[in-house]
Amino acid sequence: MSNMIDPLGEAGLQFYSKVSASISHEIKNSLAVLNESAGYLEDVTLMAKKGMEINMERLESLAGTMLKQVQRTNGIVTNMNRLAHSLDDPASQVDLNALLELMISLSERTTVTRGFKVSAAFSDSAITITTHPFFLENLIWLILDFAMNITGDEKTIAMVPTKTESGAEINFTGLDKMTENAFNDFLTQHVRLILAALHCTLQPNENIGKITLHVPGNITHPVQ
């Protein structure tokens, strides 16, 4: 058996590990809120048994907090599930709007902690392409990570998906500090391998701080 790790697989594992770590952190935070809320309920129950008055409004607000945390955790786990299932098939139909929405959610902890805001201008209609969703998610994660090093002072990154004749494109804007050297450094072996596997191309435009990711409409029909 070979002890060599397939570089594309390694890139995917690195991405999956980072997302898992971020998600587990988020779940821990949510559990911490639920833990304190349940603990507070226990505290006031013990106090009530000793004859102390219960603040019903506080209990009502606590119930709301707990419900909100359950919804939050459910959202986190749902996104994790979507990411996990994006490995099910080597090529499947995806709506780029939905995929970008997922990536904003999955990267939120990382981007917010670093003081960045990532948004997407979703189109009114679905932008359906056939691709390997997991590696496209991996690529977008890497682009966002790179983008955070080269944004302007506003620390805002916008993603704009558009349908094109050959498939679709995603424009990443707000990259005011991008240089040719920085872009070339970003094109690591992992990035090149993912681009090749997805038949995608990246086009930088340093003058307006933009990177365009060209994605084929069907992974079996590469962009020319």
Partner: protein
């Protein structure tokens, strides 16, 4: 004894402060490093409980800022982040490095132990 709790999870930090006060431990709370810097100008604290991962300025950076203003202040880190590297670094810097969720009785014991160090 007066504590300052700093965590960007408002519902966590406010409820924890409330539970500590039910146990006669005076605890103020804020949700950002910026607010923490303001409040320590006005009040004295014996110990700060800092979330390691917060937007803009995290707990480890905030600890350095607070120590310049209150030399010798005791610190406990709190985090949901479980990397071994963070644990090693955080444990070396603070009195304790605790993982969320926490047991309040364990936390209170750690607070007392930290203040004795």
């Amino acid at each position: 004894m007066r504590l300052l709790l700093v965590d960007d999870e408002k519902e966590f930090v406010s409820t924890l402060a409330e539970r500590l006060s039910l146990r006669d431990i005076e605890a103020d709370w804020v949700t950002s490093a910026k607010e923490a810097e303001k409040i320590i100008e006005k009040k004295h604290y014996d110990l700060v409980l800092l979330d390691v991962k917060m937007p803009q300025v995290g707990g480890r950076e905030l600890k350095k800022i607070i120590e310049k203003k209150i030399p010798g202040i005791k610190t406990i880190y709190l985090t949901g982040h479980g990397s071994e590297e963070d644990y090693q670094a955080g444990s070396a810097e603070a009195e304790y490095y605790l993982m969320k969720p926490i047991n309040i009785n364990d936390l209170i014991k750690k607070i007392h132990d930290a203040l004795k160090k």
